[in-house]
Structure formats: C-alpha cells, structure tokens
Symmetry: C2
Subunit: 180 residues, 2 copies
DNA sequence: GTCTATACATGGATAGAC
DNA sequence: GTCTATCCATGTATAGAC
C-alpha cells in the first residue's frame, strides 16, 4: 500500500483546525470540506458521517499519546519539567488533537471520547507520580498542567506562557519535590 | 415592580442546565423551552434570540462574581483554602454559570464572553496573590484551581474530589506558602 | 476518488391568536 | 405573557455522474 491516504489526513487536519480556532459549531461538513480543499461529496467519501470524522480524531489521539508517553519517559530532564513544558499549547500534534476532542466532547455527548481522555490523564499522572513519589504533589503537578491546558482550550489565541514562566513554575513545583 | 421575572430566570436556569449536562449543541430553543416548561414562543417573549439567552447568562455571571469575590475575602480561613475548595463544581450558582459560559465560548465565537471570563480569572489571581505574596505560588494556586475546573467542565458527571482530597491539596500548597 | 444535485430534518425566528 | 402555526436557512446525508 502507498501512503496513509493524504487527502484523508488533510480532512482530519481541517476538522481539527476549525474546531480549535472557531469552535465545534463552525466545523460543519461544508466548512471542513472547503478548508481541506475538497467538496462535501469528496469529504464524505473518506468519512461517511460526522461521527466518522470524530472517530478519526480519536484514533489519531491514541497513536499520538503512545508516542508522547514514550517521549516523556526518556531524556535527561525530569518528567515534571517535560510535562509542564508540553502542557502549554505549542501547537504540537497531540496538543491539537487533545484540544479538539476536549471541545467536541463538551458540545454534545460523545460517550467514547470521555474515557479516552480520562485514560490519557491517568497515564500522565502515573508517570509523574513515579518520579515525584508523593501522590499529593503529583496530583498538584497534573492539575497545574490541566490548568494550563484549560486556558489554552478556553482561548487558543491567548498568549501562551513563555519559557521563563514555565521555568518558574517548574522551580516552584520543585520546591515541593525537594522537601519530601 | 414585582419581582425579577421568575419565568425568565427559569428559562435561564434551563439553558444553563442543558449546556452543562448535555452540551451546547443540545441546548436548542425547543429543548430549553421544554426544560423550562414553556413553549418556544413563550421563551422568545423573554429572550428574543439565542444571543439574548447568552447575554442573560453573562449578566448573571457578573452579578454572581461580585458576590463571590466579597465572600472569598471575608471569613477566618485563608483565601487559598476557600478558593481551592470552591473551585470544585459543587453546583453553586457561580460554578454553574461559569461552566456553562466556558462551554458556550468554546462552541463558537462569542467575543463578549472571553474577556468576561478572563477578568474573573484575573480578579481571583489578585486576591490569592494578596494573601500568599509570591506571584509564582499564586499562579500555581490559580492554575491548580483551573485544573479542577477543567475536569469539571470536561465531565460534570465525574466524581468530584471530596473534602479530604481538598484538604490535602490545600496542605500541599500550604507547604509552599509557609516556606516563603 | 471526487464532484454536483438533491432530499430530508431541524434549528432559529416571525406572525398573530388567545 | 404564553401559545400555535409557519417560514426560512442551514446542516447532514444520499444518489448518481464523471
């Protein structure tokens, strides 16, 4: 087989982008099709329904998360540092997919999405816990990260905290870890 | 004049409830009307458009926030404690209105809502900062609180952290304040 | 694989009776 | 102040040509 249908991925990208930048309601089939540069009919060839589009994003999330968890584990810096740093919406693929799904799940009931997002959160927590030891501190780290996400999700256009901001956050959290 | 139109408030309550429990997309005029126990026409007498409904929630937010900020300031416990404790979605009026608006603003562009929510966040930050002194710690407190909110917003049906959870969080944060 | 045309359902909003 | 009836626009989805 050639390469994962690039037109299909393009449609998914377009869907993601509109949901993030303009909201779930704006992401109609026509809008997504136009953004992806195909016709409505063309889009529906790849994704036979709106739900199929959402399912496509979910699959994408699963793949990206796997890679992310590996990445968080390896490397010299602490997991906490990498974790906090990556929870700002820097436009990485995972961030975008996560944000889009977080929005979609809020706009109407998608019973399949919630558990997936919850599983991601749980995996993150375990990874942080393994490093810092204290469950309360781990919880705080994950919550702060969620807080950063929340702001990004609330307003993806808002200015993200810069490197110095992140540094100070990590250091502040570090005071808790050091004291154990 | 008699009393703030109770039927009007009922419609607003219904709108809020559906947005929170089932998502913005489900909160159609018919659905809201039915939930409020009036007809679509009846609803539209009080709120002449969907936008008017949203505006109604915004006004409500402003009122409730004013009361909340006062409440956070007075009383014997620390602001941090009250703040964290109240950021769990216990179903208070402010929580509900905030959650509903946070969802609405994500589903399509509502230029008027974002600044209002941002102002609320800023006010909370200032209040916490005044107590803890250290901007980095204050930031962390507010972010953790946002994280709690985020989880609630993501899934209002999920089990909320109980009193003991909150206690441990406050204590953990307290270790940072004490060390200053 | 991608397009156009069209059917069908539904959401927002108006008109006017009671 | 609340209701019913109705109009209009738009979003999802199907059919079938190319």
């Amino acid at each position: 087989m050639p390469r994962a249908n690039s037109s299909r991925e393009g449609v998914l990208d377009a869907f993601e982008q509109i949901v993030i930048e303009q909201g779930e309601r704006v992401a109609t089939l026509s809008a997504v099709a136009e953004q992806a540069g195909v016709s409505k009919g063309g889009l529906l060839y790849h994704f036979s329904s709106k739900q199929a589009l959402v399912d496509g994003l979910l699959e994408r999330l699963v793949e990206l998360v796997e890679a992310d968890l590996e990445w968080l584990g390896e490397g010299p810096e602490s997991v906490v540092e990498r974790f906090i740093r990556s929870s700002t919406l820097d436009g990485s693929s995972l961030d975008r997919t996560f944000t889009a799904l977080a929005r979609i799940v809020q706009s109407t009931d998608h019973p399949d999405i919630r558990p997936a997002l919850a599983r991601v959160e749980a995996a993150w927590y375990e990874l942080v816990l393994a490093e810092v030891g204290d469950p309360d501190v781990a919880r705080l780290v994950v919550l702060a990260s969620d807080g950063l996400y929340f702001r990004g999700v609330l307003d993806p256009q808002a200015p993200q905290p810069d490197a110095a901001d992140i540094d100070r956050m990590v250091q502040t959290l570090g005071r808790l870890v050091a004291k154990d």
